[in-house]
Amino acid sequence: MAFTSFLAGRIFKALLVILAIAALNFLLIRLAPGDPASVMAGESGATDPKFVETLRTRFGLDQPLWKQLLLYLGQIVQGDLGFSYRNQVPVIQLILERLPATLLLMASSFVVSLGLGVGLGMLSASVRFFNRKRWLDSLIMTLALICYATPLFWLALMMVIVFSVQLDWLPAFGMESVGANLKGWARISDIAQHLVLPTLALSLFFMSVYVRLTRAAMMEVMMQDHVRTGFAKGLTGGEVLRRHVFRNALLPIVTFAGLQLGQVAGGAVLIETVFAWPGIGRLMFDALLQRDYQLLLGVFLITSATVIAFNLLTDIAYRFVDPRIRMEGGAR
């Protein structure tokens, strides 16, 4: 019972945030320099007076501001994000077509960066714990430092130069081979090959964040008394690490992983642009080029909604990782 009310509360909160982002979009439309309707019509649509006129009615520009806001929010709630003049398709349709590709990229990067980051962070902390092979710790930390300072889009380009142009190992563009018409497993392996470079390029930065976080969290736990107790009980170093250190260090990592998702989504815009990955990040870049602002704002809203949905999932995961939280009924 407590869980359902917690869930309902969190979902309600998430919906509120999404509505607030829609209101922010409305504010941006009003603040943009120039007449809102012609600005929103975009580069190509503004030359069509009929389209600008439909936008004028859509935004209710002859009505008071608060009515305009309600009108706009009402349309968003009904899933109407506007019409892309350039593509001659409703914005929501364009986005939904592209969303799976972005979700695939985000999910694979999330898993890879978290896996590599936590793994290397654990390795780094354990060699310090046992006070052996400390050079390994220095190596991992240097690697993390460099990955943290590398621009995502540049790393992506460098990977294209090395692995696609020079070595010709992996495809550099798109999500599937053009015109190959593959089916079943052949298609899956084709997509997987296209996924490798974008995933790695997007993962390395976040990997470095997780490495440092895992290492710091584990070193903090190592100082605590129950670890000493573990040794006193006669456990081996490995057992202490596994049972007493890592488990307790896991919690801040889960929290932080959820918080990073917004950044992963932002990074996806860059990565999809470099690799011509057919997701909503690439769509955002196209909208920029075409000055199709309805599409741009639509992508922004859906990207944010995706992040909020993921955050909701981590919140729920959190309750399973840490049984103590259940006692508090969701309040922190």
Partner: protein, 279 residues
């Protein structure tokens, strides 16, 4: 001060970072002297390899623009946008966090909900939308980066103020009848400075990365040459002239690395207790 320097220089990475950063600063300051001609000028044969013509030691791009001049002038935009946007973000963050932490209650609730709201929105996507809608210029880029990066400062300052306001020296000031705003600005906020300085240093690095990403996406200010723009422009030449995109990226990497190293050094020097606990 000597104690500070001693702790800072114990971290050899930080000293290296500082040296690199000073070099970058000097280049930024002297850019108009080193390359007085605008980096947008097409002054050489297009697509010269590095070292091919010693007049253009790093070569030229597809329009015959000098790469070395572009790199040198790009330093200015990166550092300018990085510092100014961080300064704005810190001002907003300290204001919001200070007020929320000091007054508490419903003011705290409202301000923290707003902070959380800005933290959930994907930062880069929001910066892209802001700059695109308000047309790309240095001002819109700085504003956009500041708007997406203040929340961590607000949370940090709020947490610090929450613990500081219970301390004796604040109670003493209250008993002495000092006005609230003076207690906040004169007694409490100066004490939150060390961690804020460390965070702000790291934020400059992030801001430089964000600026580069924006101008890579074509949202840079076209009056100023920037590293992100150079990489974006070189994208179509990936096969013919890979060095065009390599060099500006290395410049970003080194600058951001230097700032991060200095940030870590500052963290060691300003929070000595933290370091002893962690190591």
């Amino acid at each position: 001060m000597t104690g500070f320097w001693k702790r800072f220089s114990r971290n050899s990475g930080a000293v290296l970072g500082l040296a690199l950063l000073v070099l970058v600063l000097v280049v930024a300051l002297l850019a108009p002297l080193i390359y007085p001609v605008s980096p947008w000028q097409m002054i050489g044969a297009p697509l010269l390899d590095p070292l091919e013509d010693m007049a253009f030691p790093l070569g030229t791009d597809m329009l015959g623009r000098d790469i070395a001049a572009g790199l040198v002038h790009g330093t200015r935009v990166s550092l300018l946008v990085g510092t100014v946007s961080t300064l704005c973000a810190v001002l907003v963050g300290v204001g919001v966090g200070g007020v929320a932490g000091y007054f508490g209650g419903w003011i705290d609730d409202v301000l923290m909900r707003i902070t959380e709201f800005f933290q959930t929105i994907p930062q880069l996507a929001m910066a892209v939308v802001l700059v695109a809608i308000f047309t790309p210029s240095l001002a819109s880029i700085v504003t956009a980066i500041a708007l997406v990066s203040w929340p961590p400062v607000a949370r940090l300052v709020r947490a610090e103020v929450l613990s500081l306001r219970e301390r004796e020296f604040v109670e003493a000031a209250t008993v002495l009848g000092r006005p609230t705003y003076l207690i906040l600005f004169d007694e409490i906020l100066p004490n939150t400075l060390p961690p804020v300085i460390v965070t702000a240093t790291l934020m400059i690095a992030t801001a430089i990365l964000t600026e580069a990403a924006l101008s890579f996406l074509g949202l840079g200010d076209r009056n100023f040459m920037s590293w992100g723009f150079m990489i974006g422009a070189a994208r179509s030449m990936l096969r013919e002239a890979p060095w065009l995109s390599v060099m500006p990226g290395v410049a970003i990497l080194l600058t951001v690395l230097a700032i991060n190293l200095v940030g870590e050094g500052l963290s060691d020097a300003l929070n000595p207790r933290l370091r002893q606990r962690g190591e």
